[in-house]
Structures are given as structure tokens and as C-alpha cells.
Symmetry: C2
Subunit: 453 residues, 2 copies
């Protein structure tokens, strides 16, 4: 029997962080302010109040290093946090690498992914302000599920606009939202002006996240009792996810280790921000640590996009943000990592990447599934296709270090399990997943009406 032992590093419950870490306190260059989508003038907090809770707007622009996690939110975090940190000894052995590979496992949350880390505080801050209803969009369904549950906890109604192709192809994701009491409709829908406009253009459109965002924002803007909620991209979402990296730091300290590199998959950017940002102060202080965002080759926002102002949604209803973008009308190919199919990247991640503090890598779909399969067969857990992007690069780095004969410490975020994604694995095992690569001709950034910097 030549198995390596499992190493699970558990933090005591009283070590759940009491504060979120706000990277804006330490950034050499803060992101430039967003612009009002109509006036094109820099946004004021008042511009955001029709759709966001005041506390979340304050977090969006805060430069305080630590922001307290409300007791009510910590209480709910305790159901699944601290999440475990595992040493991937079986994977190390299979790769015959001298590296130590650790992964932080967020799939232990009741919705199976990290998304609940931000859904809970977003629902809470809206609740204490008297908001009765939250709207949101969802692609693959992870965020919609998390917000549905968070709303249920705080007695808020949830209205989810789900990208039509996912709504049709993944009816069970809709079922879990309905089970939590949310209403879920296919987007574009006939319920909103922007939805009807898209349907008039193309009644058979599969929908995009950008369209669904437009609908959710329009809905929220029209009702006083309703706010809007976004599951990634924004500063306050990245903030909430830093609980991941903070815990991971403490867990690595428990085994006297420290990462040479920190890896996370990157769609809108919140999961990557969550694992990576808490290590940024060390890097700024001169520590030799790499922070690596991994994106799909079919939607390579950071590696192939432009750093410019762009809309966050299709209809131009949400603030214009300066970010790496492939264009707000870009429709990514139907890769299975639906959570990474967004045209833009978080302004915080974008700015830090632009400033050379982060790295980015794009990986292809089949190589990513291959890494996921190796991981499942060694470490037991079936990863979400999104999370598998981080695994791919962790594996590549471990093999590179082996070639170089160097032992490195690799930390990555396993942001969710793949029990809701077995359809995708079925396609992969049947040889039916394609390697679509983004081509520069796809770049749809066309913002002549926007101020350039």
C-alpha cells in the first residue's frame, strides 16, 4: 500500500476572520472611478443608491484596510467556514513533483461554491436597509443559487434572470433556486424593456450575462423596495471573498508553510481576488510571490482584452468601468465553465494586472478537463469546470518546477465542486468538448462614444 496520507488543515471556528481585507488600502494605483452610463460623468454614491445598498456602496469606494464582518454574517459563515485547506499529496505523487500543492476548498458551502461568501453580506446589508426584494442575473447558476439561499435566510424575495441557454440546458439549476424560494426566469424575458428589445432583435437569442444584467438592473431601478445584486466584478464582491485567502494564510501558518504562488480561476474576478488579494501586501513589501489568474482560452479577458472603459452589461444600464474587456457585446463560445464566460474583469483585478502585480494565463477547455479528471482520481473531489482552470495551472507549474528540480509551494482555490456539472464531464468523457480559442477578430471593444484615458 503506497498511498500518501490525506492532510486536511482545519482552522478553529473562532479563527474565522472578523474583517474582510480591502485591497484598495494598499494598491499603488486605485482604479479610476466608474462613469454614469448616461451622463458619462464620474459616478457619485447617489448614482448607485437606486440599485445598491448604502453599505455596499461605501465598501465599493472605501480605502480602509479592514472592514468588519457583521456578526449576523459571521454567524451564517459558521455553517461552512472555516473551509478546509488540503495538501494535495496524491496529486503531488501522481505528478512526481517536488512541489507542495495546497488547495482551499470552498465546495463545502451548502450551495457548493464560494459564491455564498458574498451573497450573505449582500442580502444582509440590503435587509437592514429595509429592502424587500433583490434582483440578479446568473449564468451557469452558481451565483443565482447562492443569492437565493442568502435571501431566504434574511426573508428577502429573490428574482433571478438566468441566461436563456443555461435555463434551457440546465433546468436543475433553476430547480435549486426555486427550492430556496426564488423566482427564476429565462433571460432575455418579456418582463423588461431591455429584454423585450433583445427578443425583438432576435427571438431565438441564447442570451448572455450582459443581457441578463441589463434586465436585473432595469427591474431593480423601477421599484423602490428592490435592489440589484451582482455576484462578481465589483469591489465589494472581491472584498467579501477575501475571507478565503485570509483563512488560507492562517492554515498555511499552522503547517509552517508559505506559497510561492497563489492561483485562482478568473471570470469576473471575485474568486481569484478572494484567494490572492490577502497575499498582495507581502508582495508589495518585496516578498517573492506570484499571484496568477487563470482564464479560459475561449474568453481570455485579461490576456487578450483591452484595458479601457466599457459597459458591464449589454444594454448600457450599469456603470461604465475601466477594465480589461473583450467588449460588452462579445458572446463567448459555449464552454462548460459558464461562470467564466464574462466579457470583462473586475476593475480591481484589472488595475493590479495592468500594474504588473498579477499574472494571467489562458488555458484550453480539454486540457482543463484533463487536469480535472486527474484531480478527481487523485484527490477524490470532482471539481467545478471553473475551478478546474486553477488546477490546470497548478499542475503545469508543479511539472515545470519538477523539470527545474525546484520545490515550490503552490496554493490554489478550489472554488466549487462539480456535482452540478456532471453533464459537462459527460460531454468531455464522450469526446464532445471543443477547444475554442478566442481570436483577435472577435474583439468587440468599440467605444468611440466613451472617454479614453
Amino acid at each position: 500500500m503506497s498511498r500518501e496520507p490525506f492532510t486536511k488543515i482545519m482552522l478553529p471556528e473562532d479563527k474565522i476572520p472578523k474583517f474582510w481585507y480591502n485591497v484598495q488600502a494598499d494598491m499603488p494605483n486605485l482604479p479610476v472611478p466608474g462613469l454614469h452610463p448616461q451622463t458619462k460623468q464620474p459616478l457619485t454614491p447617489a448614482d448607485l443608491e437606486p440599485i445598491f445598498a448604502r453599505e455596499l456602496i461605501a465598501q465599493e469606494v472605501s480605502t480602509e484596510r479592514y472592514i468588519e464582518i457583521p456578526a449576523e454574517v459571521r454567524q451564517l459563515y459558521k455553517q461552512y467556514r472555516p473551509s478546509p485547506l488540503f495538501r494535495a499529496r496524491q496529486l503531488e505523487k501522481a505528478l512526481d513533483t517536488p512541489c507542495r500543492i495546497y488547495y482551499k476548498y470552498e465546495g463545502v458551502s451548502p450551495v457548493g461554491s464560494h459564491k455564498l461568501n458574498s451573497a450573505l453580506p449582500q442580502a444582509f446589508f440590503n435587509k437592514i436597509q429595509g429592502i424587500k426584494r433583490l434582483t440578479t442575473e446568473t449564468g451557469a447558476g452558481q451565483w443565482g443559487t447562492a443569492l437565493s439561499l442568502a435571501c431566504r435566510h434574511f426573508g428577502i424575495e429573490a428574482m433571478v434572470y438566468m441566461v436563456k441557454i443555461s435555463f434551457t440546458q440546465k433546468p436543475y439549476r433553476r430547480s435549486i433556486m426555486e427550492l430556496y424560494g426564488a423566482t427564476c426566469v429565462a433571460s432575455p424575458s418579456t418582463l423588461t424593456e431591455s429584454g423585450r428589445r433583445e427578443l425583438a432583435k432576435d427571438p431565438n437569442t441564447p442570451g448572455t450575462l450582459a443581457m441578463a444584467i441589463s434586465e436585473a438592473v432595469e427591474d431593480a431601478a423601477q421599484r423602490d423596495d428592490t435592489n440589484y445584486s451582482l455576484g462578481s466584478v465589483l469591489n465589494h464582491v472581491c472584498l467579501h471573498q477575501t475571507i478565503i485567502g485570509q483563512e488560507a494564510r492562517l492554515q498555511l501558518e499552522m503547517v509552517d508553510d508559505y506559497p510561492d504562488m497563489v492561483i485562482g480561476c478568473c471570470g469576473g474576478g471575485s474568486n481569484f481576488a478572494g484567494i490572492a488579494f490577502p497575499f498582495l501586501p507581502d508582495k508589495l513589501a518585496g516578498k517573492n510571490i506570484r499571484l496568477i489568474a487563470v482564464e479560459p482560452a475561449a474568453c481570455p479577458t485579461l490576456t487578450k482584452g483591452e484595458f479601457t472603459y466599457d459597459y458591464g452589461d449589454a444594454a448600457g444600464l450599469v456603470p461604465i468601468m475601466k477594465m480589461y474587456t473583450l467588449g460588452h457585446n462579445f458572446t463567448p463560445s459555449g464552454i462548460h465553465a459558464g461562470g467564466l464566460r464574462y466579457h470583462g474583469a473586475s476593475p480591481l483585478v484589472s488595475q493590479l494586472y495592468h500594474d504588473g502585480l498579477l499574472e494571467a494565463v489562458a488555458v484550453k477547455q480539454n486540457a482543463t478537463f484533463a487536469a480535472a479528471m486527474l484531480f478527481a482520481r487523485t484527490e477524490s473531489i470532482v471539481p467545478a469546470p471553473e475551478s478546474a482552470h486553477a488546477i490546470r495551472v497548478a499542475v503545469d507549474e508543479a511539472l515545470k518546477a519538477k523539470e527545474e528540480g525546484i520545490s515550490r509551494t503552490i496554493l490554489f482555490n478550489l472554488s466549487g465542486h462539480g456535482h452540478l456539472d456532471l453533464f459537462s464531464y459527460d460531454r468531455y468523457l464522450s469526446g464532445e468538448t471543443e477547444d475554442v480559442e478566442f481570436s483577435c477578430e472577435d474583439l468587440q471593444v468599440s467605444l468611440q462614444d466613451l472617454p479614453q484615458i
Copy 2:
């Protein structure tokens, strides 16, 4: 904000039990020996050796109170054990009950259910005996998935015969087994004599667990390098699952509590045995504690079956056991709790039930889904449809105690999560789940050729 706090009771890793608890040491009446399916003579260990590992055969008949868990198995348990015990405060509040409700959550295992607790030692004991290949059957897929992973850990080939209707309706369950490297075929198949016989009788048969068991046993019996593995019913499977109840006892001690009743769903019986058996010694010593097995009204083995000798499989290849049974040719209706669709019950559970030491309740499908939905909306976790049977009775008991104005401590086993069962919830939410009840005319126990006691 009137939320109740979550209470998660975690056991330190070094408190994972080092021994399984063997209820045969304490039973007032031991189960009568099984009979050889051909000779109808009491089984000897030698009869079982062609298909079972020697250590497992020894466990099957052992009357030692504690059987040591091998270090290699404990090491693997550590990936997901100790599993958390939760106080269901939100559920209590929704029911406005004076009861304290606790649930042991086995869905944290990488396969999402308790099944891995027995799959790991079964694969291990076969491995050390030099076995290269294990065959098994699976219905809904939970057991097949667990055994596939366990075999992967120990470098054993896994061959899973999956009930045809599940194989067709739930292709993703097959995918996860293949992801772990197992071979999975629809049963009845053309690979075995017993499969071919069933297909000749009815080429369109949906298959049953009893048919799939016949195929797996026939396959194993024909190859020296191959053994057979069963996921429930047998004494050694119940033994392995006692780690659940042992941990739960320790966790309740940590909060100074003790259950008035212990509840588990019951198909073959191993999950119920796992949570309940470790409390039996207290009951035998005079403690006032109820141990309640919950079965589906569509397959009410304990409450409507006969306590008699019957075959465990369709073709009559496996030992004849004395158990509560609805007849080995009974085909239960297509309820969504596929894991509870077995005609018999564990001989240990059957004997203890016969002796009045256990209770049994049958519940209907829609009432069970209703309880599952209430649970998801209060406690966040979407339960497996099987586990929801235990929730239904926990809720009923909590409401009864409320009427009586008595505070009771209720412990139940949440044996798995329902992320792989959203199809079933979709049907329930669409009003398409039926309340099929077993009728006495369905009873197919017809064993004129078997010795009666």
C-alpha cells in the same frame, strides 16, 4: 433580524473512532445463519470466499464488540471525517417546537453520501488479499460512485452493474463513476448469464437492484482475481457505518445532550444501522431511547414485509437470508429515493426490529419532499431524497412533542446531499411526483422451496 445562530459541532480529527462498533456483541438474539442458495444448508465461511474478502467474512460473523479500523482506512476517512453535527435551530424555529433537533451530515464526503464509509474498508480488505477487481451493483448511483472512488484509491478495477432505468435516466451518475475510472454498464446486460436470461424474458425490462446483484455476483464468481462488493444489507456494511453514530454520540456529549430518539432512513439498512446501533447498548441497559427506521410507503419492507428467509437477488445466486422482505421479485414503483428501493432489509436490522428494539415508520413521497423543501429553506442544505425520509419523521416527532408540550432531543442522519438529485426536485416542484403506496397484494414472498423457521 430574528435569525437563530447556526450551531456546528465539530469533533477534533484525533477523535475519529479507532474501532467500528459491532452490534452482534450485544444483540439478545443473533440473526440466524444465511443459507447457501443452492444447497439451502447453513453458510460456512468457505461458501463466501469465492466472492468476499476473508476479513469481511470474518466481520460478518464476528461477535467481538469492537473491530479495529485499519490505519490505511482511517487515513482516508480523514479527508471528510469527523463529519459535522448540526443543531437545526432554523428548522426548530420554523416548527416552533420545544425540541432540540440535531443532524449528522454525511454529505461532506467527496461522493456526497455516507456510502464511502464502507466502500473504503471493502476496497482495502480486498486489496490486501491481492484482489485486482471488484464488481458491484448500483441503483441510483451513490454506492457505485463510492466504490469507484474507493477502488481508485487502492488501485483496484471497478465494474458496476447499474439498474437500467437509472443508467438511462441518470447518465451523469454514470459519468462520475467513469470519471473515477470505473466501468459502468446497464443491467440487465448481455455480459452475464443471469443478465441474458432476464433480457430473454423481457428485452425492455427496466432492471432491478436484485437483477443487478445477480449479474455482479455471477461476474465475480467466475474470476479468481475478482470479488463482489455490496453497499448495504450485510453485517459488515452495517458495521462500517457505525462510525457515524459513534461520532454523533461524542458530538452530543460536547454540548451535554443525549437523544430521546435516533432516526435514519432505511433501504438495505446500513445508514440507519450506522446512526442507530451505537446507541443500542444504552437501550439494552434500560435507557429510554427510541431508534426509528424510516422507509418509503412505496417499499415498506419492515412495516409491511414478512420476516422470513428470502434471496437477496433476483437470480438466486447470493445467500438466502432471514430478513423482512417484500419478495425478491418485487419491483418497487419508481420513487425518486432510488436508494430505498430494495425488497429486503439488513438481517441485523430485521432481527432487532423483530425483537422490538427498533421502530419503523413508512412515509409517503410527497410529504417527504415537502419536509425536504422545508429543510432546505431553513437549514440551507438540499437533502438527498433518501435522507429526506429521516427529516420527515424528525419533523413529525418535533410537531408531536410540541402538541404534547414536551421538549425532546431528536437526532437524525442526513446521509447525503441532493445536488445529484435535482431532477427529482424538479419533478416535485412541477407537481409530478406520485404517492404510490404499497399494497398487500404486491407482496411477492413465495418461498415454498425454502425452509421456514
